[in-house]
Amino acid sequence: MTDLGLTPFLTLSAFLFACGILCFAAKRNAIGILMGVELVLNAANINFVACARFVPSLRLEGQVFAVLVIVLAAAEAAVALAIFLNFYNNHATVDVDEGTELKG
């Protein structure tokens, strides 16, 4: 595994990031959007850990950041769920296309 190099991991991370963006941009379901967010965050995590492994000066920082990101992802998921709960209370659905009050 050590002789794979950094690039494949960065590619994987980028691919996962793209999937995550696609997911949370294209999904109508609010929970689906949250899943996309999780994918993006995890892609970032892979990026951090891969850089920690293959860049000698960042041996510890990357892993610490990954743990931080996991914690933040959890907190952010809680807050997002609270928002979507409120959204459901107002619109009786989790379809985000129903939320057009900001239409100019």
Binding site: F24, A25, A26, I33, D97, G99, T100, L102, K103
Partner: protein, 729 residues
Amino acid sequence: MLDLFRDSPGRLFVAATLLPLVPVVLLVLSGTARNLARPHGRSGGWASSIYWLLGGDHSLKTGGYLTLAAMLGSAVLAVAGLTQYFADAHDPGLSPAQIEARWTERTDWVRIGADRTDHPATALQLGYRIDRLTALLFTMVTVVGSLIFLFSLGYMADEASDQVTDHEVHTDGGHLHRRGRFGRFFLYLGLFAFSMLNLLIADNLFQVFVGWELVGVCSFFLIGFYTERPSASAAANKAFIVNRIGDAGFLIGIAIAFSVFGTLNIQELIARTPADGSTPTGISENLWLAMGLGLFLGCVGKSAQFPLHTWLPDAMEGPTPVSALIHAATMVAAGVYLVGRCFPLFAPDVLLVIAYVGAITLFLAATIATVQNDIKRVLAYSTVSQLGYMMLALGVGGWTAGLFHLLTHAFFKALLFLGAGSVILGLHHEQDLSRMGGLRRKMPVTAYTMLVGVLAISGVPFLSGWYSKDMILADALGFGAAHPRHVLLTVLPILTAGLTAFYMFRLWFLAFAGQPRDRHAYDRAHESPWAMTLPLVVLAAFSLAAGWGWPVWDATASYLGHLLHDGEPAAVAARFGSELAAAHEHHLLAGGLGLLMAAIGLAFAAFMYVARDPTIALEADTPLITLLRHKWYFDEAYDAAFVRPTVALAAAAAATDKRPTASVTDDTEGRRIDPGTLDGALTAVGQLSARLGAWLRTLQTGLVRQYVLVLALTVVVLLGMLTALTRNN
């Protein structure tokens, strides 16, 4: 209080000038109070009592009496001032400088700039300066004015009722009925009197200009007195606008004088010009000519000379006392007066122009007067012609002659106009000569006083007109003898003397001699009340005697002429010494020619209008008569050359602001963009902003997913930029 006047007796004239303002103020205040109280007229209370105190539904005549009293007061003060002036002038103990100091005063009114070390700040000044010319003219204006005010009390009597019928204005259902405007007439007359007198005593061009414009405004009000008549309003506009054209020239002259010489005081300006009329130091020759021509252009407008003569005949739309006062004796005299006062300021070329303008005017107007049928129009053209005589005299060096004629003309022309007013009123507002005839039996006082006036204007010996006209013809002949190139300046006045006699006697014969042509009007005719005939008699006496001297049969021996001659500026003798000497030599020849022409004119008039049936001459219709009846087509020419292009330009300018006609609503939102009109172009700016905003609004869809996508794409783009910018390290 009397010691106010002891050291500066010129203040008598100032007091006489301000006196007519008192009834003006009173009339304005009382008229305002009455109009404000009018709605409460019938409801009782103090507003109602004010209303009925001030006359109620019809004007009180008190305003007229007050104005007459003020004018009489001015006349008394003027006569006192005149006698005091001539006492001073013949007092051996007073030097000319002392006399000057006693009869002049001035004060700064508006200071322009700051005081400098070597001279005080330039300023617009107010002041007066009395000399012989001023004193005589002032007295004439106040005396003639008083007589005309007295006449007006009788003439305008039917304005003092609450229901006046105007027979020349037709509304649906007959003639117009309106409230009487007696007080307003005397208000305007009083204001006019003040303005004219202010003009006369002014010692600087600024004050002259103020008076100039004020008399023009009063003339506008008085000509358009019958405001409901479109012809009167148009005539008032025409008078004011044509006068304004002249005033533009006057302003140019004033501006040149002020900028080059730094002063507008007439005496100071005269002191800077050399006696022989060459260009003074410090000014270019062209600018000097321009200044003189500018000042003269103002006089052309005010005194109705060619080419600005078209307003005076139309000004006959005003009531007859107005025509007598303003357009015969006083306002039109202001132009001649100014030329006389500022005589040294005119270069010799400018004086030649003045002479030619006068000569053309006198001939032109006399030819037109020979075929006019409206009694007032004949007199109007006669006034224009006689003013031409005065300008001609001034232009050829006959300073005394021109101003003497101004004085005598005021008397007999006012007499003729008031007589015409008496005829008009006696015939119940009939002005057409072709419908008069034989009136001497019904209106003897009017007829015979007007005969005196006609004799005076024709230059019949021993009446006042003879002395002044004789002097003018002699001066013209003298000038012609000294300058054979300008023979027209001699021939035209002599020829026109014949025309003058012809049309004036034509007027008298048609109105008073022969048989009545309109039996109905003749039967209703009656002589006017004493308030109107007394001024006629007094003016006839003046027309008879004003020129007398001793011996009476010597044309050069006139007392008034000598008084004026003593006041002649030195420049006249310096510039025209030889011409005036030649005039004196050929005096008898000129007089003889003038009398001969007058006799020929009288003979023709008698033949055409007494010896044979006047209707033959009245109904004659040759091309020449048509040309003359249409006043040489001046009005049509001016209309085509100036009025129509201006109206077309105005219409084109207005078209840029007119609304587009198709698919227009008042609502800006729904209107189409129309950059073609001014309104459309300005609205288009707002409309375009609104449309831009509406388009931008469509970006706000409210869809969360779209916002998220935009966010994400932005992040990607930013990352890309960051990578690209940090790549080359």
